[in-house]
């Protein structure tokens, strides 16, 4: 990364004399300046207009009451009433929050641990390693909607593979019983997510300096100690990326639940409640927006963590 260091150094404060010389030699013509502006400007406008303007729109609309039928002039401003209603009077809200949290914890614990284990086991020269890797990450290319369909076939009470294998034909309604269906769906989501996590960890392990491990084993560390004391701490950047990817995945969860039962009966999620309030029979825009802001606040915490991690590295390198 010495090159990138040099490039980035240009933005830093060191080496003033050379910098001034370079600034002069890279003076841009007017045409070039306009071209550069367009090259950045058009994508930036599209991105900001369709991602950040609606984000702010969600925040603003969350303080309003609007059925969306009349024009913008019909919007009534009602302060924080939507939030109060959502927190106190919307029976599906707290279950949805709880399910999102369970989703989060489950995805962080199970697929991450299993993906890491698989990455460690497969990160060595051995036969068929690439075949094992391929099989484990095969579900990653499938859409979550399809994962929903595929696992519905697995979970059918009478005809599904799961009940037939454990000899409970017709007894366990995996997706219909609201006390277990969330976990049944989470197994399906984990099936897809593990491969992704494994790939990220494998990439991190490959980039690891082998000399580190050698030094540790020369010092008499066994492989367990080497992993927890040497490898894992060095993987910190990857750990954070895995964490953020997993959190975002958990907050975005939608498709699989929509396919199975549209997010009812034990499968309520914040994302489902939001779309229910805009494309459902009742169009309560302020309400949906208030829930969206709750989701936004939760996700921003993790997004900022990620940005700090990634761009601090950028500054350093």
């Amino acid at each position: 990364m010495t090159l990138a260091e040099q490039l980035d150094a240009g933005t830093g404060t060191t080496r003033p004399p050379r910098r001034r010389a370079r600034r002069k030699s890279t003076a841009l013509s007017l045409t070039d300046r306009i071209v550069l502006l367009l090259m950045v400007g058009i994508p930036a406008v599209v991105h900001v207009a369709l991602v950040w303007v609606p984000t702010i729109g969600s925040i603003v609309l969350s303080f309003s009451e609007w059925d969306g039928i009349g024009g913008l002039s019909d919007i009534k401003w009602i302060g924080t009433k939507n939030y109060v209603d959502v927190f106190t009077a919307y029976p599906r809200f707290w279950p949805a929050v709880a399910h999102n949290l369970i989703w989060l914890v489950f995805l962080i614990v199970i697929p991450t641990a299993f993906g890491l284990l698989m990455a460690v086991l497969l990160d060595r020269k051995m036969r068929f390693s690439s075949i094992y890797q391929s099989i484990l990450y095969l579900p990653v290319v499938l859409s979550l909607a399809l994962v929903g369909f595929i696992w519905q076939l697995m979970y059918e009470p009478d005809k599904g593979l799961v009940n037939n294998l454990i000899g409970q034909v017709g007894h366990i309604n995996w997706l219909g019983d609201s006390s277990i269906n969330l976990y049944a769906v989470l197994v399906a989501a984990a099936w897809r997510h593990t491969g992704y996590v494994m790939l990220l960890f494998l990439a991190g392990l490959k980039a690891l300096d082998p000399a580190l491990k050698e030094a540790a084993s020369l010092d008499g560390a066994n492989s367990w100690q080497t992993f927890w004391r040497v490898t894992f701490p060095v993987l910190k950047p990857i750990n954070i990326i895995v964490l953020v990817v997993t959190v975002i995945e958990a907050l975005r969860a939608y498709d699989i639940v929509f396919i199975i039962n549209r997010g009812r009966n034990g499968l309520e999620l914040l994302s489902i409640l939001i779309t229910d309030n805009i494309i459902g029979e009742s169009s309560r825009i302020g309400y949906g927006s208030a829930i969206a802001v709750v989701l936004l606040v939760i996700s921003l915490g993790f997004i900022i963590t990620y940005l700090v991690q990634v761009f601090r590295k950028e500054e350093r390198s």
Partner: protein
């Protein structure tokens, strides 16, 4: 179990060592491979179960159940799913949305990445952070106002027969571009930073303008990264479900992934047909898996591994 015999066959292939340590190593290796083979079998089970169901006839599974030895195997389910539900139509919809979306996303993000990585403007870091953060937002956060914006934005009728951004495939392309540009810009910026600055400087000295430096010097060098991102973005946009559900109202205009939801109620009346339809819809991504595995994996890890 077949898994055990398979595992032992796999691992006894290397000549067993005679020393005690060799034996212990061999035992660990047998255990390791047994564990891996079993895990892989479990991992493949859901897909294999769908494949199994899709090849069986309705009569067979209706009388014998799904957990039985098949009397006969058939392609009929695939043919029925393909023709009755008019799958080609939905594949075409997907194509019309996915190809422009991937192309424009890569075009946009490579331009931004070029500027950010080649020139030291003060806004560079802010811009990158805005893009990256935007890409990480859960889509549902912006769904409500976006739906309203789409409903209020008129489009010429040659772009959208609804007359608005809402319910138009053009609108879907736009939101995919807006969302995915963030991730691609981030990855491409890191990639372009590894290209020596001397290259563009030499081109500039030779009188090449900014556009030529971008198009003729930098872009050709980014081909591996662009290929990886194209593969990844194709898969992601192909797999998108939410945007079409929210922003498309006419079932006929839906891309295949979102259309499956309607089709499964209307046409896929039994599990064999659901399985066949699902597998057909998965086909393009499975092609990516088998043919473009290297690009897909490097695309996934490009963003995370150190640049």
């Amino acid at each position: 179990m077949t898994a055990d015999t398979l595992a032992s066959r796999l691992v006894t292939a290397p000549a067993p060592s005679l020393t005690r340590q060799g034996n212990r190593l061999n035992a660990t290796r047998v255990a390791l491979h047994t564990f891996l083979v079993l895990t892989c079998l479990v991992w493949l089970a859901p897909l294999l179960w769908a494949v199994f169901a899709s090849f069986r006839t309705y009569q067979d599974t209706a009388t014998n159940g799904y957990f039985s030895w098949p009397r006969e195997l058939t392609f009929t389910n695939f043919v029925t799913a393909w023709t009755q539900a008019d799958l080609p139509h939905y594949f075409l919809n997907t194509l019309v949305i996915t190809l422009p979306a991937v192309a424009i996303t890569l075009f946009f993000s490579s331009m931004v990445a070029f500027v950010v990585s080649r020139f030291s403007f003060r806004f560079n870091l802010t811009l990158l952070m805005v893009f990256t953060a935007g890409n990480l937002l859960p889509q549902q956060v912006i769904a409500v106002p976006l739906y309203r914006i789409y409903l209020l934005t008129p489009l010429p009728s040659w772009l959208s027969d609804s007359g608005y951004l809402l319910d138009s495939q053009f609108g879907l392309v736009l939101i995919h571009v807006a969302f995915q540009t963030g991730f691609c810009t981030f990855v491409l910026t890191n990639y372009m930073k590894t290209i020596p600055k001397e290259l563009t400087e030499a081109a500039r000295v030779d009188g090449a303008g900014v556009l030529r430096q971008y198009w003729q010097v930098i872009l050709p060098l980014c081909r591996p990264a662009l290929a990886a991102l194209a593969t990844l973005e194709f898969t992601w946009i192909y797999n998108d479900f939410l945007w079409a559900i929210v922003l498309i109202q006419t079932g006929d205009k839906m891309p295949i992934t979102s259309a499956l939801n309607n089709l499964s109620g209307q046409y896929f009346t039994d599990n064999n047909l659901v399985a066949a339809g699902s597998l057909l819809a998965a086909l393009p991504t499975l092609v990516v898996f088998f043919a473009l595995q290297r690009q897909f994996v490097s695309g996934l890890t490009l963003g995370s591994a150190k640049g």
